[in-house]
Structures are given as C-alpha cells and as structure tokens.
C-alpha cells in the first residue's frame, strides 16, 4: 500500500479488471497505482530514449541482468549492486483521444467500463509512464472537431493538468479524426510519438491518410483501437433495431441470426486496420475494454515493430 492508499506490491492494479480498478478511487489515484504496478513488473526501463543516464544503485535481485551489475562495488565491498538508469527526456508524445459519442457506450454497464472511461484511465496511465521517463506528453481530444489541445510537457505537474483535461472531456458528437491528427503536426515539431486512441468508428480512409502523413513526418505512431466486448460479439434481444448513437442510422435484425456473420465482419475490419497500419509502419493494437490496463501498457510500450 503506498502513501495514497492504493494497493500496490502484491495486488497489482495494472492486472486487475478495469471496472474493479475504477471503483477503487479517482483517476489520479488509480492511475498511479496502475503505473506503480506496471513499472514494478518491468526489469528495465519500459522505454529507451536517445540516451540514458545513471540514476541510483540498488541491491541485486535475482533476475536482474548481469550487465547492470556494478563490478567496482562488488570488488570493493563484495556486495552485488545494480546500476539503475533513467532515460533522458527528449521524447515528445502526443495522445490523440477520440471523445465522440460512440466512445461513451458500453454494452454492459454493470461489468464493463464505457470505452471513454476506459480510455481516460489508459491515457492517464500512459501519460504518467511517459512523464516519469521525462517524456513530454500532450493531449488532443476530438469528436467531430478538435475539442481541446494540451501541448506536450514533461513535468509531473503537467500530468495533473492532463488529468484535469481528461476529466473534463465529455462525450461529444460525431467523429472526425483528420483535423485532430493534423493538429499534431503543429504540436510535434521534432519526431515524436503519436498515440491515437479511438474506437475507429470513423472514415478509415481519411484517418489512415492522416496517420500516414504523421508517419511520413517521422513520427512513431501507435493506434489503440478501443472496442467494447459487446462490439466484438453481437448479442441482444430476439429482434432489435440497432441504432448508431452518432449518425442515428439503424438496422433491424435478429442478433442470433447474424452473430456469426457479424463476428466475421469485425474480424475482417480489425484485420484490415492491422494490415493497413503495418504496411505504413504504424503500430496497431486492438484493445477491449475488459482488458487489464497493465497488459495494454505492456503491448503499447513495447519496442516498436519495424515498418513493413
């Protein structure tokens, strides 16, 4: 248990059910808990910058890589210490967050967080990890237009500002990703990291075009495709009129008749996104809102794959 009262250590929040975690406290509190848990599970810095600098020594623990053992101390004191490093703060990251109306939806309010809430917590954790690495992190929220722009900063106080922005961001209207992604260009002068978090219920061609442009500018691009489990597997009453909360377009069908075909459609859509992103060197991760945050962070912050 840390000073904030959030359980850490053995009870790793990053691996708990997101809904359960969300019940433990406010955004800041649980985000710290999640990040603590996440970082404690790592044996080395989650992210490598362009250079690293020594931070402190600590006692060797089984599993530590031998290359970080300080041999001089061993020679002097006959004790095993390892050197710990911190990455240098020169990464600028921009999180582009979809707060359209569709993001506010959950198929099962009692068991699964709405996509928006889930994404909020995920972004907060991600930002904390980055800021702790001295990476400047900014945030752009958008629905059918850009709603807020928070320039990237590396201070811990900036993280709290990000939290405030996230907390204020309410679900908007439709979804138009291109303007928001274009705003990133103005925020990231140097090559940096762009994290695009959305349910991707948008114009794929336009969104991919904007993402390709960012990639072309040398940015590392990470797409987190947020999906509710109920969007992966179709369920519902015997027959229902399914209505899009954004466009109000509707389809009448019997879920049990269409479940299989729908599942196949989703698989194809995800596959197309994944292939399109890989083709342009964009990292793509499909995230369902019942996935523990730690797992998503581990996937998202893993070394980027080589562009295809």
């Amino acid at each position: 248990m840390n000073s904030t009262g959030v359980p850490t250590g053995r009870a790793r929040l990053d691996l708990l059910d997101p809904l359960e975690v969300s019940k433990l406290g406010g955004l800041e509190l649980i985000t710290e808990g999640v990040v603590e848990g996440f970082l404690s599970g790592l044996h080395r810095s989650p992210r490598r910058g362009f250079s690293v600098e020594f931070a402190e020594h600590r006692m060797y623990q089984p599993g530590d890589e031998l290359r970080y053992v300080d041999w001089k101390i061993l020679g002097r004191n006959d004790r095993l210490y390892v050197k710990q490093y911190e990455e240098e703060t020169n990464l600028r990251a921009m999180v582009v967050f979809d707060i359209s109306r569709s993001m506010a939806w959950t198929g099962s309010p009692s068991t699964v967080l709405p996509k928006l809430e889930y994404a909020r917590r995920l972004i907060a954790a991600l930002a904390l990890v980055l800021i702790r690495q001295r990476d400047a992190t900014g945030l752009i929220t958008f629905d059918d237009d850009v709603r807020s722009v928070t320039p990237p900063r590396a201070r811990l106080s900036h993280w709290r500002q990000l939290l405030a922005t996230l907390s204020r961001s309410e679900a908007g209207q439709g979804t138009a990703a291109s303007p928001a992604l274009q705003r990133v260009v103005g925020q990231l002068r140097r090559r940096g990291l762009v994290v695009f978090i959305s349910d991707l219920l948008l114009d794929r061609t336009l969104a991919l075009k904007a993402l390709r442009f960012l990639r072309h500018r040398g940015h590392q691009v990470l797409v987190l495709h947020i999906m509710d489990p109920a969007e992966v597997s179709l369920a519902g009453p015997n027959e229902a009129r399914f209505e899009d909360p954004e466009s109000r377009s509707a389809v009448v069908l019997r879920p049990r008749d269409w479940a299989g075909a729908y599942r196949e459609t989703v698989r194809v859509v995800v596959s197309e996104w994944r292939l399109s992103c890989r083709r342009h060197g964009i990292s793509y991760h499909r995230v369902t809102t019942d996935t523990p945050f730690g797992i998503v962070l581990r996937e998202a912050l893993a070394p980027p794959s080589r562009p295809a």
Partner: protein, 594 residues
C-alpha cells in the same frame, strides 16, 4: 383422383397460414438498441441480406408445408395406386356367382369351390377398417366383418337361383353409393355368357373368372305333359334338351315310381314318350339324364293331373261352343253329362258367357247373385283390346266385352285379363267369360288355342282346378285365388289366394284349397343355366365399362390394389417428419452461421 376419409379435417388447412401470420406479426416494430458499431452491421447485412431473405422464405415454406402435411395426413388422403401392399380403408362388395352353373365340375373341382377359394383370398386382404358386403345368387346383400363373411363363404352352396350379373353389379353400386370410403366391386363368376347383362358400375369393377374352359354340356331344358288332365290311359311327355354339346344322351321319363321310359336325344332337340297312366290324382313326372359334369340340369320335374274327363252339357245355340264340345267329345276329352254346363249357368259347374241379347243380362246377374256368385256382368265395351298372356289363355284380340264386376271383398278368382281388367273370373265352380265365344266378340274361337282352352276350361277350371304353373327357384309365382296352402314333400306354407309365392328350390309344389289339391307349380332351374359357354373378356368389358378381368387365382391379389387407393397418411407423416427435421436442421445451422 385424390380422396379423403375425413374431408372435414381439411378445414384445418387454414392452420397452414399460421406460420405466415406469425411471420407478419413478428414484423412489428422491435425495440431500439443503441449500438455504435452499426456500420459493421450494415456491412454484414449488405453481404448476407439476399441469402438470409432466401433462408427466411425457405423456413417459412417448410413450416407451412409442415402444417399442411399434418392437416392433410389427418384428413386421411387416398390416391389410386397399384402394387402397394396395404390399402386405404375401403368399401368392397364381393359378388360370388353361386348360380346353378357354378355347380359344374371343371378340372375335377366344382367351379363354386374355386370361386369360394378366390373369395377367401379377397377377404384375407381386407382390414378391420374396410366395409364389406357379400352378395350371392339369392340377391340379398350381407354386410359383415371379414370373419363373418368368410364363414358365410365357406358355407356357400350352389344356389338353384339364377344370378343376373348386371343386376348384381347394379345392386353393388347402390350399396356403395352411400359409402364415403372409396368403393370397389369384386365379381367372382364363371362368366357364363347367358348370365351377362349390361350394368354401369359406379365403382372400380374387378372380375375374377376361371382360366379353364367349361365342359360341353347337355341338360334338360323343358318338360311338356300336353293337355291335362290325363285319363287313366296316360299321356305323352315331350322333353327338350338344351346345351352346347352335340352328343346324344339317353333321357329317362318316369311317372311317380313307375319304371321309366328311355329315349336318345341331343341338345336342341325334343324327345317324346308315351307314359302309361295311373289312378286319378296328382302325380310327379321326372325326366332324367345320366350324370355329367353339370348335375343340376340332369333332372327336371313336373306334375301330371290324372282324372276322368268332364261330363258336359253344352249350349247348342252357341255355335262355336257346341262345335268345340263335340270335337272334345269325339276325342274323348269330355263326355256328355250334367257335371259341367258349357255356355250358360247350369245347376252345377258352369262356364257362363254373356247373353247375346243385352236384355237378358239383368236376369243372368240376378241368377248369379242367387247362386251366391261374387261376380256379375257390368257394362258392354266395344273397342279392340288384347288379352294379357297367362297360363289360361294366350294373347287374343277382344272386340266386345262386358266388364266383370266383383261384388265381394276383393278380386279373387281372376283367371285372365284384358288390359288388366278381369276377362275370365271364377267363383267356386262357376266361370264367367267377359265375351261370348264368338268371332264377333273375340278371335279366340277361331284361333289354334281354342281347343286346348276349352279343354282346360271344361276339365279343370270349371271343376275348380288351377292351370299348371311353371317357375324357377326364387322367382315369384302368382297363386290362384282359391289357394290356401302350398305343399312340397313334407314342407307346407300357408298362403293367401292371389298373393305371391317364392318356391325356394327345385321340385313340384302342390296348391291346396282347403283339403283339395287344385293345382301345382313345377319349379326347375332356368334352362339358360345349361349353356355353360363362357363370355369373352371383350364382351364383359363392352357391357361393364372399365371392368378389369383377371383369372380367379389372381383375384385375391388384385382386390383392393385394383385401382386401389393407397393410404397417403403414412407418406405424409414421413414428409412432415422430414420437413420438420429439415426446418430444425437448417434453422439451427443458419443460426450458428447465417
């Protein structure tokens, strides 16, 4: 043509509309569910919509078919099919022709036994759901279950009665007319050509007939004993032979228990015998042939009346009566005496003709009334008419006649009629003629039949006796008015004069009035039965449209399956099961992967 055992169930076909109604009802506005990924649903449905629509229509069709098949099965449909082992509940009339010709022995076996065996096979194919009738030569339809009718079949004997096949088929059609079940007529017969008559069967007709040709036969067709009564000297007997064989056969004629007289004869010819007489009375006369394959026509019987001739006093003023009496007297058929008065009303037996002078009619009627005679003369009619043929007189023209009026309670004693009106009537021993025996009144006195008529009139009718009648077993005979009893051997029947009597079998039936025997009916099988020649299948088909003829041995298998109506309930239930399984299978498969 498809038929139904329970057509009213077809109203349930309306239930076939239930899936369609459910389908339409299910099209009501469904609840709205907010779902962001509608674009995925649109993509999914766009790709599968046509297939799903097809699937839905197919499921709807299967469900409608399922209901329709169940309803149709409940209605009990039947269709004409052949070669099926079972059959739908049917109504079957089995006609077994046990007429006299069925007694012929063919191939060492009586024909009837083969017919019965075939009948048993037909019955064996019936089910408890079938309605069954058995019709035999007696013409009485008997309804029963398989066991009862099989028992009847087993006890069937050769009937002395002739069976008109057309009439039997018509009777069977009438029986089936009120049956809702599909009907069938099975006729098992020797297909004797002379028994065929036209009929329009209302149901499929199966005719089982023997494959083996019948034997050539010679039988006794008729036996004539001439004018009666015979005197004690005897008389002549003429026996006519009928049949389809040309061979000569010995014929024996025997009066009562006297030794018989024999002669050779052949079919189509007659044989005459001189038979010695006996004492007065009624005597049976038998003609016989040696046994052959068809026994029933090898013996024929009749009756002979032997009595002294009538002693007659005749009216010499009536020219034709007098002439006839003198001829009869010259031939010793009558003698002069006072027993019978011919031409007028005498003290005893009388043959009364109307007076030539109408003025005398009143006195005659009063005299008749005084004698207690229940008949009198009425008005004079002068129009050409003809006598109705009968045992007493043949067909003769009548120009003038008095109507004969009965003053009693009925019309008993009518011996001959003209246009249905009494022309000769008798009460006791008084015979009234409606016309004078004169060519100005009737042609009878100048006809060939006049002498036999006068013989019968004087020797028998005026003496209270009846003319000899002939008949066939089962055929009704009109009894003379004075008859009170019929006797044959040890059997006797109380009867009413003027009524009908049906002699059950071959033999001589004596007619009694009180204790006196006044006449006889000789009953013999129809002589047409002696011609055993069989009709061809073509002849039968021409007379009975649509008839199917098969050998007797195949009749059992052909019955019920002949134009038989297969029960569609089983197949329909299988169809319903298959359709149901298809519906469940397809619905589940498509539900898993539309």
């Amino acid at each position: 043509m498809i038929g139904f055992l329970h057509p009213w169930v077809l109203a349930g076909l309306a239930a076939a509309a239930v899936p369609i109604l459910l389908h339409l009802l299910a099209r009501r506005e469904p609840p709205t569910v907010v779902f962001p990924a509608v674009r995925y649903l649109v993509t999914t449905t766009r790709e599968h919509q046509r297939r799903l629509k097809l699937q839905n229509w197919l499921l709807l069709l299967l469900r409608t078919l399922l209901v329709a098949a169940l309803v149709l099965a409940a209605a009990g449909p039947t269709v004409p099919v052949s070669g099926v082992p079972g059959h739908a509940p049917s109504a079957l009339v089995l006609i077994v022709d046990n007429s006299p010709s069925s007694g012929a022995v063919v191939g060492g076996t009586p024909q009837l036994r083969q017919l019965i065996a075939a009948g048993r096979q037909v019955m064996a194919r019936s089910t408890p759901e079938d309605a069954l009738w058995l019709v035999t030569a007696d013409g009485i339809p008997r309804r029963g279950d398989r066991a009862t009718l099989t028992e009847l079949l087993n006890s069937l004997k050769v009937s002395p009665r002739r069976l008109e096949l057309g009439a039997a088929i018509t009777l069977a059609s009438d029986l089936l007319a009120s049956e809702p079940r599909p009907g069938e007529i099975v006729l098992l017969t020797d297909l004797q050509a002379s028994a065929l008559s036209p009929a329009a069967p209302s149901a499929p007709l199966l005719v089982g007939r023997p494959a083996v040709a019948p034997p050539l036969n010679v039988g006794l067709g008729a036996i004539e004993t001439g004018t009666q009564p015979w005197s004690s000297d005897g008389g002549r007997v003429s026996v006519t032979l009928v049949g389809d064989s040309g061979r000569q056969v010995p014929v024996t004629a025997r009066l009562a228990d006297r030794p018989g007289r024999q002669a050779l004869g052949q079919a189509g010819a007659s044989v005459s015998f001189s038979v010695p007489g006996r004492t007065s009375g009624w005597w049976p006369l038998t003609a016989e042939l040696d046994p052959d394959e068809f026994r029933l026509d090898d013996r024929r019987v009749t009756a002979v009346r032997i009595a002294p001739v009538a002693r007659v006093a005749w009216d010499t003023t009536s020219r034709f009566v007098a002439a006839a009496a003198e001829v009869l007297a010259a031939n010793r058929r009558i003698a002069r005496g006072q027993e019978v008065t011919a031409g007028g009303l005498g003290p005893g037996s009388s043959v009364v003709q109307p007076p030539a002078d109408p003025a005398e009619l009143g006195a005659l009627n009063r005299a008749l009334a005084a004698r207690g005679i229940n008949w009198s003369y009425g008005t004079l009619t002068t129009e050409l008419a003809f006598t109705d043929s009968g045992a007493v007189v043949g067909r003769q023209s009548v120009i003038r006649r008095y109507t004969l009026q009965s003053t009693g309670s009925g019309r008993t004693g009518v011996l001959a009629t003209v246009n249905g009106a009494p022309w000769i009537a008798r009460d006791g021993r008084v015979v009234l003629l409606g016309s004078r025996l004169d060519p100005a009144w009737t042609d009878l006195p100048v006809s060939a039949g006049f002498m036999p008529f006068m013989d019968v009139l004087l020797n028998r009718l005026a003496r209270g006796e009846a003319a000899l009648e002939h008949g066939a077993p089962g055929d009704p005979v009109i009894l003379p008015g004075l008859v009170t009893e019929v006797r044959q051997g040890q059997r006797d029947w109380r009867v009413e004069g003027g009524g009908q009597f049906q002699p059950p079998d071959q033999g001589v039936y004596y007619l009694l009035a009180g204790r006196d025997t006044v006449g006889a009916v000789s009953v013999n099988p129809d002589s047409r039965e002696s011609r055993l020649a069989r009709a061809t299948d073509g002849q039968a088909r021409r007379l009975w449209q649509g008839a199917r003829l098969v050998p007797l041995e195949e009749a059992g298998d052909a019955a019920f399956s002949y134009a038989s109506r297969g029960d569609l309930r089983g197949p329909l239930l299988w169809v319903a099961l298959l359709v149901g399984m298809m519906e469940v299978g397809l619905a589940s498969a498509w539900r898993r992967r539309p």
